[in-house]
Structure formats: C-alpha cells, structure tokens
Subunit: 357 residues, 2 copies
DNA sequence: CCTCCCATCCAAAACGATTTGGATAGTACA
DNA sequence: TGTACTATCCAAATCGTTTTGGATGGGAGG
C-alpha cells in the first residue's frame, strides 16, 4: 500500500556542524570557541559575541556524547516505572511524568524512561544505567517498605530522590505525602456524616503509601473509639477491577458497611460501579471515597470524595530536588512532607438528593 | 525532621570499571577485550569465554557516552509529547508509552521523553535533539494535517515513525488506525438502534485523526441518506471537560439529538456526565459512544460503547518499525492500517433496562 | 628448508567536545 | 629601557570506546 517510501540513507544525512567548523570559519581555535560559548571571561567580549552569533547561525549544537564523555555527566535523569507493560494506565503516571518533564527541561536536563516490573528485570535496568553512566540520578516511585533500589543506590553513592518515603533507610531525599493524616481527615468526615461501619480497600502493604493510608484509617477509628474490625479491610490491587471485586464482596456482607474508603481513586471508582450494579445509590445508601484527586474521580457519577495530592507539582519538586542533589546545591530541603487536602463531593454526601430518575 | 542526610560526594562514588581495567587484569589488550565482548571471530574461543566471564564478574558495562561517540549512534529514541504539562492525563498516553518502552528495551534501545506544547518550544526541542545527535529517531504522536515535524525530519533525513498519518507528505512510515471506518461502524450501529438525530463532538480538525473520525460520521450518515446537519457537530478539546460543555449545549437544543458520538472516550465520558446531570438516562433517553476503548469507558456507568484501538500494541509496533528503519532493516511494512473494533455496551443499548433505583 | 597462510592478538587512530597550562603581545609603571 | 602584569588566545591532553591496519608465530604444503 501507499506508494514508494523514501529510503533513509545515513550517507545522505546532513552532517551536523562541529565546533571545529565554527572555529575554522572564524579563524579561531577550537578552544576559544568552546570557551566563548561557555561564557568564560578570558575571551574578548567582541570575540565572544561574534562566536555566539556565528555558532547560532550555523546551527551549531554540541554533540551530546562528546560533551558527556569529557565532562562525565549526562544531564539526564532516569525514571523506571515499576510495573509491567500492558496493565499500566493509572492517570497518576502521566501527571507525574509531566511534572518531571517540565522541571527537567527548565533546567536543561533530559528524562530517560523505562518500564520494568519489580524483580530481576528491574535490578538489571538499574545496574545498566548506573554502570554505563547513562544517567546522573534516579527518581523512584511506588517506594516499598523494604526497597532494594534504595539500598542499592545508597551503597553505590548514586543520587536519587523518591516520591514517598521508605523504611529501608532512616532517611533519604524524598517528597512524601502524609497519607495517614489525609485518611484520618477522611474518616473524620465520614464519622461526621454518621457512619460507623467504614470499610477500607487497600493493596499490597509492601507499598509504603498503602501502609500509611491504612494507618490513618486505623487511627481515625481509634480516636472515635470504634473497634478495628479486620473483616472490613480488604486487599485490592490499585486498579478499578480490584476495587470492583472487593466492593462486591463487602456489599454482600451482613451487616454491610455504610461507607467504603478506597486506597486510591481507581479502587474507589471500581467500588462505585459494584455498588451501582448492586442497586445501591452511592452517596445515599453507601458512601464511597478515594485518594489521589484524579480528574476521573471529579467527573465520576456521583463525583468522588477524595483526598487530593498535587501529583504534577510533586513531580516537579522531586526532580528539582534531584537536580540540586546532582549539582551539589545544598539549598533545597531534602525531606518534605506534603499534607494532602480533603475534597468532599457527592459520593459521601447523603444530605444532597441524587438527581431524580 | 528526619535527621542528617548523607551528603553525596562524587569523589567517594565508586569508579566504574573500564574496559582497560578488564584488559589489565587479564593481561590482554583493550582491543582484544572489546572484540571478544562484541563476539568477533578473530579472538580464540577460550579467550573469549575468559573475557566474558571476567568482564561479567567485574561488573563491566561499556560507558554509554564513549561508545556512542565512537559509533555515532545513540541507541535511543525520542518521544516528545505535544502537550503542555499540567493538562495531560489522557490514559491513552501511559498505555502508549508502555508499548514503546517494552519494545525498545527488548531491542536494547532507550527512550528519551520530553513534553513540549506545539509551537516554538516544540521546534527547539526537535532541533536540539537532532543537532546534538541525542537520539537516533523520533516517534511522533497526535499528527497534524499540516505537520511541521514531518517536513522538518524528512528534510533532515532523520528517521521517524508516527502514530497516525499526515497529509504533509504523500507517504511516511506510520501505523494508522482507520478512524473513518471505525466511526462508520458506530454510526451504523446507532442507526440500527433507530437513531436519526446523531450528534458528533469533535476537536481541532488540525489533528488528522479528528478529521478521519468526522469523515466516518459524515459518510455513515450519507449512506443512510440522512442529511448532514452542521448544528449537530461541535468542537471539543479531547478532554472530559470539553465533552461535558459541548453535550450540555446539545442537550438543551430542540429538537435535541438522540445520540452523541464523542471523538474520544474522554469526550464521551464528559457527555455522559452532562446527560446525567440533565436528568437523562444514558442508554435509554440518550445514546452516547466514544472512541479509544480505554478502561475508564469500560468501567463507566453505564459502560461506554466505543471503538477500540489497541494502543499498547500500536506503541510496540510503531517503535519496532522505527528501530528497523534506524538499523536499515528493510523487513517490516512501513505503512500499516489497523482496523479498529466496535465494542457495544450499555450506553447505546436502549433495549436493556437500566438498574432500578 | 622455505614459503604461505591462518589464527590470534595488538598499537594507534579515530569520535568531538572540554580543560589544562601555557604563549604572546600590548600596556603601565618604575 | 626593562619589568611586571593583564588581556586574549591556543596546542595538546583527556574522557572510554571501537575500528583500522597490521604484527607475530606456528603449521601445512611444496
């Protein structure tokens, strides 16, 4: 189909301009051109201006590999998604990557991305990128309570920051979100609405943030002197499908819970679906809430009560922190805790009538 | 908070093993080690085995920058998201990036990612990565009818493939999805259900795929001898909010449409919300359908009728095609058209009663 | 014994930038 | 007139690979 495609031929590809070409054109040494472009003050300002202008109009851009080899820095940061390919559609990720991307390009860094499920492939990926000096540092996500990545990178003395803390080391540079107090606020809100049987659909407690949120749930109940009931706690898998399955079972319990907290928005959205299929009106018969503050939750029906964390902004900060670390700029705080914000919407408001059908 | 953080010090960071170190340990030349590892047959097999084993146990990995400089190839492909940071949460993207990521790492390529809104910043980004030889090729997404990127890369003779074709060149390597016939199928389905006033919420027709889908809508109506009514066509912006706004207006028209097609799933989900807020039962009072086949649509309430395109698989193929192109492997087809598949769900089935409330 | 041919190895030259450690010429000052 | 200093420039080394173009020695064949 579609006619003849032009064949790409490396030999015909325009050769990029090298610093040598600029030097030759101006009858200057390579050294001077290099130093002029780098802004050193041992080159006459007239010369500097001329060099900059000429380099610009010749379209000269330093070849990355050469510079990198000489300077032994890549100006690149690495991000390895700890998940396997096809089941990877958490809206969280694209927000986060956008935050990182904006900050890195602002500081003229690049972002190298890979996907590897936790385990052997993940280890290989980190080994490769550290040993080949492919990146200057890593951003870690979905930190785990016992996190191989953190001990490895620390041992290698390789810069990294993470979204979410870990218990692997006493401290390591990261941006954390206080999931515990976030869920505590949420529980308090549900208690205010009169709920007493509140369920929690979690996920693998290997993930730090899951443990944090579960803790908030427990403390919240405790403070209201409500006994913790293990039968009301389920383990999902952070997906919508996981939330759906878990909620289905919870709903058929008796006595069934009057409120369900999903460890993230996707889980909660799955639970909403299960409830609606079971003929329940969410917000009236059953309250459901999530955590994340994704757009999907905002536009759900009914709109989802959730605990909002500024994912885009966290992406920006975590990469700013990493670049500071790489460049040894002591300035920034290396250990910040963001307090997420409760957003109450219809899915937990029984006072507001649902639209008549 | 958090105690004393260990300060990273470049001087104390373990020096990576160089090929020279391996050579010295084995009392061989650097050349021989290099050739042994590369699998040339001018090194004795006993020597080769020894080299490989030693290199492995010393943890030797070639430094990427040096290799890249010498070979003048990066084994990296570039992906620049043509969108601006914060409003960037289409689930489409994460699926797509996962497909690309899996294929590139299978062929031991890396993936360099950036985010730049169409316009000047985008041009700068492409210039930089081509001139600095930062990547070996590009994957283009959201191709536009008149696409600067395609003419630029073609002019520079720089390898690229795209998801979605463009009219900028007669042909260029890409994976296309036949959005026209996809929407035509959808229209036919709606006609079968008895609909006659079918609306379409699109987006900027600058985007090729939007035009394709709109064309399918028009042809579908034409074949059923239904006059095209411009009042039933709206322009959204591919987001949920855009779909919501457009649908709100459409619903209050009189006579109002009995079915709405969203150019993508997000638009359709926005429309569902607008309909529900307006007191309509989606599937009964108003049929709504989308395009993409995202999980979000599958789990919506009611589940969304849509036209499914295998985004993960397309990501894989488009990057396989690019790598073939870079390596001059003539093998693969450079111009493939995938026919998407109609998935009918409750949002367009008025026969099935909605759950009683 | 001599020649030729393999099989195996290696020294040195790239690749394209940055950085080190001067060189050169003009100026100010004694 | 010398000397010291400054402003401006540059040759050469360097980063760690891969690749080019031999070198070397032993065995086969005459």
């Amino acid at each position: 189909m579609g006619g003849i495609l032009r064949i790409l031929n490396k030999d015909t590809r325009a050769l990029p301009v090298r610093i040598r070409d600029v030097a030759k054109k101006l009858d200057l040494s390579v050294t001077t051109v290099s130093r002029a472009l780098a802004g050193y003050d041992d080159v006459a300002s007239a010369t500097r201006d001329l060099v900059i202008e000429t380099a610009d109009e010749m379209g000269y851009v330093p070849q990355h590999a050469a510079r990198q080899l000489r300077r032994q820095r890549t100006e690149t940061i690495g991000l390895i998604f700890p998940t396997t390919g096809s089941r990877f559609s958490d809206p969280f990720f694209s927000e986060f990557i956008a935050g990182i991307g904006d900050e890195t390009s602002r500081r003229s860094y690049d972002l190298l991305v890979s996907v590897a499920p936790p385990g052997e492939a993940e280890e290989r990926a980190y080994h490769l990128w550290t040993n080949s000096r492919r990146v200057d540092g890593f951003i870690l996500i979905r930190t785990r309570v016992d996190d191989w990545r953190i001990s490895y990178l620390t041992k290698e003395n390789f810069p990294f920051t993470s979204f979410g803390r870990s218990k692997t080391l006493e401290t390591s540079p990261h941006i954390g979100v206080d999931g515990c107090s976030g869920v505590k606020d949420l529980v308090k809100h549900l208690l205010d609405q009169g709920h007493r049987r509140i369920a929690f659909i979690g996920a693998s407690e290997e993930l730090t943030f899951v443990g944090d949120r579960l803790e908030g749930y427990q403390i919240g109940l405790e403070e209201a002197h409500i006994a913790y009931d293990p039968d009301l706690v389920f383990e999902g898998d952070l997906t919508r499908a996981g939330g759906y399955e878990a909620a289905k079972i919870l709903i058929e319990r008796s006595p069934s819970p009057t409120a369900i907290i999903g460890v993230n928005d996707l889980t909660a959205l799955g639970a909403i679906r299960a409830a609606q299929e079971g003929g329940l009106i969410v917000g009236k018969d059953l309250a459901i809430a999530g955590f994340d503050g994704t757009v999907a939750g905002e536009h759900a029906h009914p709109a989802l009560t959730t605990v909002y964390q500024p994912v885009y902004e966290i992406g920006r900060q975590v990469s700013a922190m990493l670049i500071d670390l790489i460049e040894n700029q002591a300035g920034s705080e290396l250990d910040s805790l963001i307090r997420p914000r409760l957003i109450v919407r219809d899915s937990t408001l029984n006072s507001k009538p649902v639209p008549a059908d």
